[in-house]
Symmetry: C2
Subunit: 241 residues, 2 copies
DNA sequence: AATGACCAAGTGATCTGATCATTTTCATGT
DNA sequence: ACATGAAAATGATCAGATCACTTGGTCATT
């Protein structure tokens, strides 16, 4: 009988996917490295090509690998992550958007506080680059690009906490789909204000003032949330019930 | 030409996966419902069986569908989610485990506070069921089962916040892999104490005392974190450098 | 009538082998 | 040195076949 007590039922595919991940780990491959061709994998594991491809699709779905037509199989950007944004998630509804922002307003301020205490060097520099890029895009009026860079800032802030799991959580809730949704709803805060607030947060983190960083981040996200709430749930006029 | 203005480069597989999700949405299928056979899908979309299977594997990886051998294709438990735990994640290292707990200790207390304000009815009842199950398992000494039910309690707590995104985040960071890791490290807090603390949190939420719920949750998780930290980073003895 | 063994249809899992499409490489010619 | 274009490597898709598992019904046994 099985020694682990568990059922040995794992399908060929489960084994395959696990083996391929193990292979990547053994070779110490990391994001962007080329892996191995589909055919050679099929040969190595003594299975047919379509089977290998199914296993690869599974890995691909979580960002563990990438399949580039005509080029090869590569290690993906999310290999080894614990929490991810659902890559198949549809553009969220307005309600879901509010929920998402509420979640961020709850999670990110404490993360900023930690970031101010830890201050990972690389992340600080990344924040500065994000701010510079944002300033540039405010000038040129590239609103779509600006929205992305602003998200990048929040992710870099989370990186500064030095906690990879926290960074993954924040990255997961700062998904880009949201940008589309914001544009659909024609929600735009004052872009210069956003930039100023981001700069203030960065300064607080740089100074190691965790309380200030937390408060500024909370105020910033609450502000965004207020704008969105106003759009999604227009304030009731008491005179017209 | 394309009406959406986006790049039309999406591969056949992207279209397939998206179409199948749309089909599920159109039919208003939800978790557990039977979908459609692989062969009929291949027929419907005029593609070969292996292609359909690749697309299904992609959906399967995010919990959008399930393939049951000999039975059929079913809608999965995570369809429509925004944030998920990486289903392919390896059992985390000790360091990663500490990070994960730190993240939970940061995120869950404010969630508990919201839960105490909102108090979703169904979630409250679920918490009670979890507590009852936990009490049972404390008696029978089923430690593995107990660890799972304790995780369930934290998930139910997050559910009570009424914010699906928050619940998804909490579920993602309360992955079961951690149980294995805890057992590997032989980390066990006092099980009766855990149960008592969970009961106290539940009571605070039930009473709508958000400050208390937050504090209790924080103390609870900090306690767990302290135990783990002690194991992973044994306190330095100054007399033996 | 209830139970259990057995069979058959439906369905997923895997294989084989081929062909098409894209990328990359590299020899060739200017 | 550079541009060109063929050739090789590689992923994408197809077609059809066979194996394995689940399920529901049949039928004999109790």
């Amino acid at each position: 009988m099985s020694s682990s007590g568990g059922v040995v039922r794992r399908s060929l595919l489960d084994d395959l996917a696990a083996s391929m991940l193990a292979l990547i780990a053994d070779r110490k491959l990391s994001s962007g490295d080329q892996f191995e061709s589909v055919r050679s994998l099929a040969d190595r594991f003594k299975v047919a090509v379509p089977t290998v491809r199914e296993a690869l699709r599974r890995l691909e779905a979580t960002g563990a690998v990438e399949l580039r037509h005509g080029s090869g199989v590569y290690v993906g950007p999310h290999v080894g992550r614990l929490v991810l944004a659902n890559p198949l998630a549809p553009t969220p509804s307005a309600d879901r958007l509010v929920e998402l922002l509420q979640a961020r307003a709850l999670i990110e301020p404490p993360v900023a506080a930690v970031a101010a205490r830890v201050r990972t060097e690389a992340a600080l520099q990344q924040m500065e680059r994000d701010l510079a890029a944002a300033a540039e895009l405010v000038e040129t009026g590239d609103h779509a690009g600006l929205a992305e860079v602003n998200m990048d800032f929040h992710r870099s802030l989370a990186q500064a906490s030095g906690n990879a799991t926290l960074a993954e959580v924040v990255e997961s809730v700062t998904v880009v789909n949201v940008r589309e949704q914001l544009e659909i709803l024609h929600i735009h805060g004052d872009r210069q204000t956003d930039l100023d607030e981001h700069r203030a947060i960065h300064a607080a983190v740089l100074a190691g003032d965790s309380e200030l960083a937390e408060r500024l981040t909370r105020e910033h996200l609450d502000g965004v949330l207020a704008v969105i709430n106003e759009r999604v749930n227009p304030p009731q006029d008491p005179s017209t019930p």
